[in-house]
């Protein structure tokens, strides 16, 4: 099994492409950082310019929820992208994308707790117990917390192989996030199903990878 660190050494390209590669490499993270910050920047801009419509708190909940899910699914694309392009850049972005997803989830949750429920603890607990979609969201959030906490290089090193097993839980978090959206949508809406489809494709991709690996191992034995 190749790890993140093996990839780094495997993937140093031929000398001729390296100078432009250095610039690209230096630019990649800042550019993606700015891009992933844009939804939040828009939110602040829209709030102060009355662009959030008649029900701003609902608009913020929806905006942060949508982007949390989109960016979480984007973070799941990184490993498949690396497999497809055989380039290290997706893996270099993976942590940042994942942490952005977590950032939007936390903003989403704080919006719900502070602005929507106004810290009414009994109302929040009732919601978690009575409303399956809130429970699904909470499960997703609770899984993402340890993943965010163990996302540092130090933790990766310390946990070794166990880090990978632990971080496969991100698929469960994504499933719970999509289920959360499907269960909260009123009527038969298409959009949550689009996310379900994307998640399904991503999981198939990984599953294929796992099966191939498993076969290889079996042959080796």
């Amino acid at each position: 099994m190749t790890t993140y660190f093996d990839q780094k050494t495997i993937q140093s390209g031929p000398a001729s492409t390296q100078s432009s590669g250095v610039v690209m490499r230096a630019m990649l993270k800042p550019v993606v950082f700015v891009l992933l910050s844009l939804p939040f920047a828009w939110l602040i801009y829209a709030l102060f310019n009355g662009q959030l419509g008649a029900n701003p708190i609902e608009a913020i909940t929806h905006h942060t929820g949508e982007w949390a899910l989109r960016i979480l699914l984007l973070s799941l694309c990184m490993t498949p992208l690396r497999m497809m392009f055989r380039k290290p850049w997706p893996i270099r972005l993976r942590r940042m994308v994942g942490l952005f997803a977590f950032f939007y989830v936390v903003t989403h949750l704080l919006t719900y707790m502070i602005l929507d429920q106004q810290l009414d603890v009994s109302a929040i607990l009732l919601d978690v117990l009575e409303r399956p979609y809130i429970l699904a969201g909470t499960v997703s959030f609770l899984i993402l917390v340890p993943l965010a906490l163990t996302s540092t290089k130090g933790m990766m090193r310390r946990l070794g192989k166990r880090w990978q097993s632990l971080h496969k839980l991100v698929y469960i978090a994504a499933i719970a996030g999509v289920v959360h959206y499907i269960w909260l949508a009123k009527g038969d809406q298409i959009e949550p199903l689009v996310y379900l489809f994307v998640l399904f494709v991503l999981m198939l991709f990984r599953l294929k990878g796992f099966v191939a690996q498993w076969n290889k191992r079996r042959q080796a034995v």
């Binding site: 709030l47 102060f48 310019n49 009355g50 662009q51 959030l52 419509g53 008649a54 029900n55 701003p56 708190i57 609902e58 913020i60 602005l115 106004q118 109302a123 009732l126 919601d127 009575e130 409303r131 399956p132 979609y133 269960w183 909260l184 009123k186 009527g187 038969d188 809406q189 298409i190």
Partner: protein, 319 residues
């Protein structure tokens, strides 16, 4: 007290150029405050009602929702599922010419033009609380007439136990390509509910002709029930002996009952109905973040008036 509320309370005989001026100014302020580009379009279309409007005595005294909010934040799935879609696609709904089919258990059925329907009715302004099942609410000055006054003209017979309503369906409406609900949208009331003096047929709001996104040219307003009962853009009224099917009930029977009376004690699977967010405050800046939720009222605060309708019913069972 806001200008608006003052304007809304005065008698029609007192409506002068001054109050018309105030209304216009309010619209302009509302447009700027809302900063919703869609509303600028709709405000440009806003047409004052040509009929004289008298004030009703029972008006709600809550702070009014701005016209900008009430005409840009709508659920009208035929025009799209996003709250902003109805105002965006309002022009796709063609309301002229318009006719309404009246049939079923009545002695004077027929197909009527909207002009024929409206002709005999004096127009009244009623300020009602409007409570959506999604746990938000507004306070809206509707212009129209009692539903019962209209229904009586068709001479319902003894078999007419219910009234069914149907919304327009037209392939041009952008939301109708989606299968989010079974089209056409249908709703219904028990006949005594329909004849209750609070049940209202609106053809205007805020003194203006009702905008398409709010259900032009004619919509129901049943203030003690969740908003989806107040069916929009009505093309058919049928008197029936059996309880008619209703759209949201068909889509999710355990979530939406036939009666759908506002009831803080009956929780919906997705929204607690104990509280509601009143959409009448700021929509911009930090103040917009802290608009309070208020406790919801049994029957949306119209409990005393409608109590007799549900005297012997278990409202937890018949939700």
């Amino acid at each position: 007290m806001k200008d608006w509320m003052r304007t809304a309370r005065i008698k029609s005989s007192e409506i002068t150029d001054e109050s018309v001026f105030r209304r216009r100014r309010q619209i302009i302020q509302g447009t700027m405050a809302a900063g919703v580009t869609g509303f600028i379009g709709s405000a440009a279309h806003a047409k004052a009602l040509s009929q004289p409007v008298t004030q009703w005595e029972g008006n709600a005294t809550d702070e009014l929702t701005s016209e900008a909010t009430a005409t840009t934040y709508n659920n009208f799935y035929e025009l799209g599922t996003d709250k902003g879609d109805p105002v965006k696609y309002a022009d796709k709904l063609v309301t002229d010419p318009w006719s309404v089919v009246v049939d079923g258990e009545c002695n004077a059925p027929g197909t009527f033009t909207i002009e024929d329907i409206l002709k005999p009715h004096a127009i009244e302004e009623r300020i009602y609380r409007f409570r959506c099942v999604e746990a938000w609410s507004m306070v809206i000055p509707w212009n129209g007439f009692a539903l019962g006054d209209l229904l009586k003209r068709f001479k319902p017979n003894a078999n007419a136990k219910y009234v069914a309503f149907e919304t327009v369906q037209d392939d041009n409406l952008p939301g109708m390509s989606s299968r989010v609900l079974d089209w056409p949208y249908v709703e219904g009331l028990r006949i005594d509910e329909a004849m209750h003096p609070l049940a209202f047929m609106a053809i205007g709001m805020y003194g203006n002709v009702i905008p398409n996104q709010n259900g032009a040219p004619m919509r129901l307003v049943v203030p003690w029930k969740y908003g989806y009962k107040s069916i929009k853009s009505i093309v058919r009224i049928s008197f029936t002996e059996k309880q008619p099917p209703t759209s949201w009930n068909m889509s999710a029977p355990h979530e939406y009952g036939f009666y759908s009376n506002v009831n803080p004690d009956v929780s919906h699977p997705r929204w607690s109905q104990a509280k509601e967010r009143r959409l009448s405050g700021d929509t911009s800046g930090l103040a917009a973040l802290f608009s309070a939720k208020i406790p919801s009222q049994f029957m949306n605060g119209y409990g005393e008036e409608v109590a007799e309708l549900y005297a012997d019913m278990d409202l937890k069972k018949f939700f």
